[in-house]
Symmetry: C2
Subunit: 339 residues, 2 copies
């Protein structure tokens, strides 16, 4: 796979960081997966059917992995983190189901999306069910601090999603607004996922905040890279979907940078394709060419690297060891996806 132009060569083994993290907490993750399957059951058969499609099939379980590893890094020796990791995955899954309805997506992780297979109506309602089930799991855990963190994150996710909807098709969106969107839709749950790891380990506030900072910065880096990949030629060569954001008129950093740096003629192009959503087959390659001309992908990745560095810095106060190295590796993993 080609590196994005201007990027450093891949750190050796960066792609294996997810495997390393998964191996490190394998038993916990397996317990979490069993709990997920168990708690998505319902006498209403369509619920586990639809949930299985999205929860059980695929997905790298990145967010629950973060909760599991954060708890262990903070010295936690119990089992409560398994339930909280399942909570985090349920919240994530509920938002995926609703996102796909909102975006009218036909594909998710390269397969037919739940809304395409089961209909928008079922996706909305099963998303609601998983969200409620996440809260039931949290209540069973019974820690009010955990409940406060995850309920606040859930509200922030919804705010981020609404802001994304409002700024969609608006090339006047500011970088600040874009950052608020990705903070809400992605980073808030990453931050909550890692923070509850510190809370369950009864760490003092500075450690809790450091875990929050790690997750939050990682989440922003993750989303910046995701937004770059949507225009990446390397991604296209791998047969992965490219141009989803473009077709939906989503305003992401690659577009904002290309727009800001573009000529008036280029801005006319961007307004036509993203605001009016008047697109032809040739427009995505044209968008990719403009983004390349203005080095907008490289600069998006550089920005991701800055947030990644902040995530690494937040880890520094924790004891060195397998957990810290695995979580540091995840930063590289998230950014290395762009190559």
């Amino acid at each position: 796979m080609d590196a994005l132009p201007g990027q450093q060569p891949a750190v050796p083994g960066a792609e294996d960081a997810l495997t390393a993290l998964t191996d490190l907490v394998r038993e916990d993750l397996e317990a979490c997966n069993r709990l997920i399957v168990q708690r998505m059951q319902s006498p209403v058969a369509l619920i586990p059917q639809l949930a299985a499609h999205i929860v059980a099939a695929g997905g790298k379980r990145l967010r629950p992995l973060l909760t599991l590893a954060a708890a262990r890094l903070c010295g936690y020796g119990g089992e409560r983190h398994v339930k909280l990791a399942a909570c985090v995955e349920f919240i994530h899954t509920a938002t995926l189901l609703h996102d796909d309805v909102v975006d009218e997506s036909a594909l998710r992780r390269g397969q037919a999306s739940a809304n395409a297979l089961f209909g928008n109506q079922a996706s909305v309602l099963v998303g609601d069910f998983l969200f409620a089930r996440a809260f039931e799991l949290m209540v069973e855990d019974g820690n009010l601090k955990v409940l406060a963190i995850l309920s606040a994150a859930s509200a922030t996710i919804a705010e981020g999603e609404v802001l994304q909807l409002v700024t969609q098709n608006d090339t006047g969106t500011t970088e600040q607004q874009y950052l608020e969107v990705i903070h809400g839709k992605t980073a808030a749950l990453f931050a909550a996922a890692t923070r509850v790891g510190a809370v369950v380990a009864e760490q003092p506030m500075p450690a809790e905040e450091a875990m929050d900072s790690y997750g939050r910065n990682l989440g922003i880096a993750f989303q910046l890279v995701d937004d770059a990949l949507d225009y990446s030629a390397a991604q296209e060569q791998l047969g992965k979907t490219v141009g989803d954001d473009f077709r939906e008129g989503k305003i992401t950093l690659p577009v904002l940078l290309a727009f800001a740096r573009g000529t008036e003629e280029e801005r006319v192009f961007w307004r036509r394709v993203l605001e009016d959503r008047d697109q032809t087959e040739a427009d995505l390659p044209q968008a990719q060419a403009l983004i390349a001309r203005h080095r907008a992908l490289e600069d998006t990745i550089l920005r991701a690297r800055d947030y990644g560095d902040a995530a690494l810095a937040a880890l520094a106060s924790f004891p060195d060891g397998a957990e810290r190295r695995a979580l540091a590796g995840i930063v590289e993993f998230c950014i290395a996806r762009a190559r």
Copy 2:
């Protein structure tokens, strides 16, 4: 307004029961309304705009009224019930927003529905926000029993809605399944709304269960009457919408009774209009005629009255007084709507 054929004449003043209850807890309700407006705020302007459309405009606040009055009936003298009443209303509002998306409704309480005005996407996401905000309010209250009751109710609501979706357009739906649907989509939140009133008043388990039973039976009665009203000629004369369930192919008790009691020819009609959803203008009057022929509305209302009686019986263990009389009046109010 004409009484439904076969019904007893309206109990004098039954229509005023809602006013009586509202007057009784007016200060609490006003505090609750202020809290609702305050807590639906967000820096993302579309959220309060859309929320105001459905939360602030109209709605009789029946569920929060139940929480407020139940707490007072149980001797509670504090202010926590105000926050819990707002929670209950937020959960209810979130489900209304998602219901309207699922049903593709153009109208809600006689006005343009939120999804018609703001789009399905915004309705899904703002529903998620209100649901998350409800949990934040509960977490602020900090009582794990309340959290368990309301999170379990939320999951049950979603299960009921999914079951309704699954049984929609299926004339083979059993009465038992129908009861499960209305228990989930309506009665579970009524039960939780009244039960948390007892919990906040620190009542022993029998009182808690009696409050739950009152709310649950009231909720089923309420929904049975709602389902009858959708075919009611009296309702039509008042200029209210009739036939929404019919057009959506929802399987409700009036239809189940008419179908079970109908000839094979009538069943062919029901299958065409509800299963195939092949409907012409003349079909709603024809459905109403068949329902009338088999006394299906009367029997639906009789069933509602049975549940209403069970709700009244559950009140008997509480001290007589203004609160108990007001809550008893609400049973009559819910059933008297059918006249």
